[in-house]
């Protein structure tokens, strides 16, 4: 396998509000390889979105700041580059799709205007060439009647159509990396599958590496190559999809799998993980998952486990047990 | 039940006081208002004296001069005594009338929003109509009909402020009506009156009060402005605007005749605005955004 296209090392993001300082991303490291889809999974509030925003420098400054770590891409460290250089990267080399398509497009401008504005920001081409490029991208995401849509405003499109526009906008300049943050969560169930299908189709055709952020393990199982599970701002387990689903090791991963409806790991009533993700300002001294873990040892309460790799899987747990079919 | 109500009352009061102490805006506004209102209410009693009393032997006195705390005007009338009476006039028109407007506006807005249908369309049509006109113009129109005097100012302030309050109350009621707890109350078969009294009013009262405080400020300014151009309070009854206007003729001689009532006016408006901002912060931070749509 070729080297990674994106390498995230010990990324730490801190939020300071009203004198309180807390880490929302804690020393996250992962690699993204060419043409692969890496799923980043976890409950809401676990730091998935903050991780993604930290990669492309879109965290809400000055309250939030990347304090440590590096994001290596194309021979430069994106954490260290200037905002001006970062803007060259955003939308062109690395682009992003957001969760809520209904509010993610400026309501005052037409679809065509929004798309061509981004194109002409990165390419010195004429307006009509830019429009042609935008139209082509809209066609590829199978937006119905793209010529008309170009002249319409966001409110005239359905949620699913708007998400297609978002995908077109993110992919039209053939980026190296696409970050998709819960791209289907806000959509109708019937539309979700179509959008996911378009997204992956485009990802394959354009040879884009994708970081797919979701809380939905079903989506990950369907499309991702590898998975990183996040809990409370840190990665707790990372493996290929096959490994993770056939032999989950971390109790949190196991809990997520058990909570999947209709999964083969689940019998009878739906499972839930007791408790909830603690707010980031609350940090247990040992393993961050220990307060909710059913197999925590004394050590888990006292000592913070490191992410340990056996070459095939990364795991942050002192007491991994085989998955029990409870 | 009674005990419960009692204790809730006490805790509400205590919370109000705590918030008052913590909220700088509200505190400074309240102190300022207490001073101004106190001067208006208590001043005439302590000072005694006659605001009409003319004394040609002591005209244009400066403040702190012999026998005249805040000086005298061109007729030798005591500025302090006149100022206190003028503050009363201003408070009566602004606070009194806006208070009445608040009650009427609450009723109209609530009925309009709660009943919906034709009741709503006609009531809110009338309120929108009135609200579309600036207060000063409405007052001048009334003055054109009724002749100049405080009555036209009172009618204009009452009418326009009532419309403004009713519009916002209606909006709040409409928004609340769609909330689950109101729907639940309706589904539970509670009478309309009970829903309004137990569920709607407590939620509307705070924003309505905040709003009313802004309109008090608007009314203070309007009364003074109209009196300034001679359409408001008629002599010999003093009013802040009228005192400023009279003093204006003697700016070179003794600017205090204008400055004193002018400053009093600015302080009054400032205290009311501070109270309004403070109330908004205490009751409902959400109103921060709505306040921007709130205009004279």
């Amino acid at each position: 396998m070729a080297g990674p296209i994106l390498s995230v090392r010990d990324l730490t993001t801190v939020i300071r509000t009203e004198g309180i300082r807390f880490e929302v991303v804690r020393g996250v490291s992962f690699d993204l390889y060419p043409n692969e889809i890496l799923g980043l999974v976890g409950e809401s509030g676990c730091g998935k979105t903050m991780t993604a925003l930290s990669l492309i420098g879109l965290i809400p400054a000055p309250a939030a700041q990347v304090t440590e770590g590096a994001v290596l891409f194309g021979g430069q460290d994106l954490v260290a580059v200037s905002e001006r250089q970062m803007r060259e990267v955003r939308g062109d080399d690395i682009s992003m799709i957001f969760q809520d398509p209904l509010t993610s497009l400026d309501p005052m401008f037409t679809i065509g205007h929004l798309l061509t504005e981004v194109i002409r920001r990165h390419r010195t081409i004429s307006r009509s060439e830019a429009r042609a490029l935008a139209l082509q991208a809209l066609k590829e995401v199978e937006l119905p009647d793209p010529e008309t849509r170009m002249n319409q405003y966001p409110h005239q499109l359905s949620g699913g159509m708007r998400q297609r526009v978002m995908i077109a906008m993110a992919l039209m300049l053939d980026p190296d990396i696409l970050i998709a943050d819960e791209p289907t969560t806000a959509l109708d169930v019937t539309v979700q599958a179509q959008i996911l299908d378009r997204l992956v189709g485009q990802q394959r055709r354009r040879d884009v590496s994708m970081l797919l952020i979701t809380h939905d393990l079903g989506v990950v199982a369907a499309v991702a190559d590898r998975v990183a599970v996040m809990y409370s701002g840190e990665i707790v387990e990372q493996a290929t999809v096959e490994q993770l689903f056939s032999d989950p090791q971390h109790p949190y991963t196991q809990g997520l799998l058990r909570a999947l409806p209709q999964s083969r790991h689940q019998r009878g009533a739906l499972h839930t993980i007791p408790g909830r993700v603690p707010p980031p300002q609350f940090t247990p001294p040992g393993c961050l998952f220990s307060p909710r873990c059913s197999q925590a040892l004394l050590r888990c309460w006292e000592e913070h486990p490191e992410l340990v790799s056996d070459g095939r899987r990364d795991l942050r747990c002192f007491n991994p047990q085989p998955l029990t079919l409870a | 039940m009674l005990e419960f109500e009692e204790s809730r009352h006490v805790s509400l009061l205590r919370r109000a006081v705590t918030n008052l102490m913590r909220n700088g805006l509200l505190l400074s506004g309240t102190i300022l208002a207490v001073l101004v209102v106190g001067a208006g209410l208590v001043g005439p009693i302590i000072m005694g004296g006659d605001y009409e009393l003319i004394n040609f032997s002591n005209t244009h006195a400066t403040p702190l001069s012999e026998g005249a705390l805040l000086g005298t005007d061109h007729l030798g009338r005591d500025t302090a005594i006149r100022l206190f009476v003028a503050i009363r006039v201003s408070l009566a028109v602004a606070v009194g009338v806006t208070g009445l407007a608040l009650v009427v506006g609450l009723v109209i807005g609530t009925v309009s929003g709660f009943r919906g249908g034709w009741t709503d369309r006609s009531l809110s049509g009338v309120m929108d109509f009135i609200w579309g006109f600036p207060l000063i113009l409405v007052a001048v129109l009334f003055a054109g009909g009724l002749g100049e005097g405080l009555l036209s100012v009172i009618l204009a302030v009452g009418l326009v402020n009532m419309a403004a309050i009713a519009r916002v109350v209606r909006g709040e009621v409409l928004a609340l009506s769609e909330r689950e707890f109101i729907e639940a109350a309706r589904a539970g078969g509670l009478s309309n009156w009970r829903i309004i009294r137990k569920h709607l009013l407590p939620n509307i009262l705070a924003p309505a009060l905040v709003l009313a405080s802004y309109y008090v400020a608007v009314a203070i300014i309007a009364e003074a402005a109209l009196s300034f151009i001679g359409l408001g309070a008629q002599p010999p009854l003093p009013s802040l605007g009228q005192m400023v206007a009279e003093g204006r003729n003697f700016l070179q001689l003794n600017h205090w005749e204008t400055t004193v009532p002018g400053l009093a006016l600015v302080l009054m408006v400032l205290s009311v605005s501070l109270i309004g901002d403070g109330l908004r912060d205490v009751f409902d931070p959400r109103l921060r955004h709505e306040a921007k749509g709130l205009e004279s």
Binding site: T110 | G145, E148, I221, R248
Partner: protein, 305 residues
Amino acid sequence: MRYLASRTVYMLIILAISSVAVFYAIRLSGGDATAARLPASATEADRETFREILGLNDPIYQQYFTYMGRLLSGDLGNSLTNNALISKMLVEHGRNSLILGVTAFALVFLIGIPLGILASVRRNTFWDGGIMSMSVAGMAIPNFWLALLSIWLFASVLGWLPSAGCCEPKQLILPALVLAAEGTALTVRMTRSAMLENLDSDWVRTLRAGGLSEARVIGKHVFRNALIPIISLAGLRIGQIVGYALIVEVIFGWPGLGQVLVNAVLRRDYPVAQFFSLVLVVMVVLGNWLADLGYLAANPRLRKV
């Protein structure tokens, strides 16, 4: 189109209702119209004849239509106090008012919007604090008091500008600024909060993710969105300026419609009071309607559905 039509119909209804209201209010209260025109020695019979001639004995709805008919045919009548032609007053004073009003209206936005934007992009800094304090002061200081202060400072103490009069550009500066003050203060506040609200929206992140510069995101997109609430309240600004013109024109001796109306009311010159009340009411209603049109033009969500 439906929005446009409904706003226009609404405007016409408001116009009709308010013209009736103004007419009735002033006609009903006009007291004894003969008192102003006829000498005190006139007999009751003379007065009755006079009323008959003026049509004051007709049913009031008929008087309304007679009056409106006369207005539409261009016959505006004369002033009771100096017999001046009202039509001539309208042209002269109307022009002066228009100069003052339009200048003030322009100032409200030309000063208010840039300051509001500056405050929002420099949120919680010295600039923001300074601008917002000025805005609070602008709303708390009654504008006739501001007028006196500015006359005192710029005319008496510094001697830079004349204290009153018409219609040199120099004489326009103070009244226009004073007339614009409160509207400007409100516009600053509104612009700031509208900018901040839009800066927090999801689509701003999308544009940033597309690599657009902050100048472009804020200057073009956020501003364009923030303009909507500002335009939607432009009608109120017009009304406010018409209302305050009544005060400001009197103070600065600016011979406009407001001054004419206030003087007519004080002198019980009821034909003049009636006509100019009507004129100002029409201006307010038309102003609101124009603002509605602006809102329609600025908001794509209303243009095409």
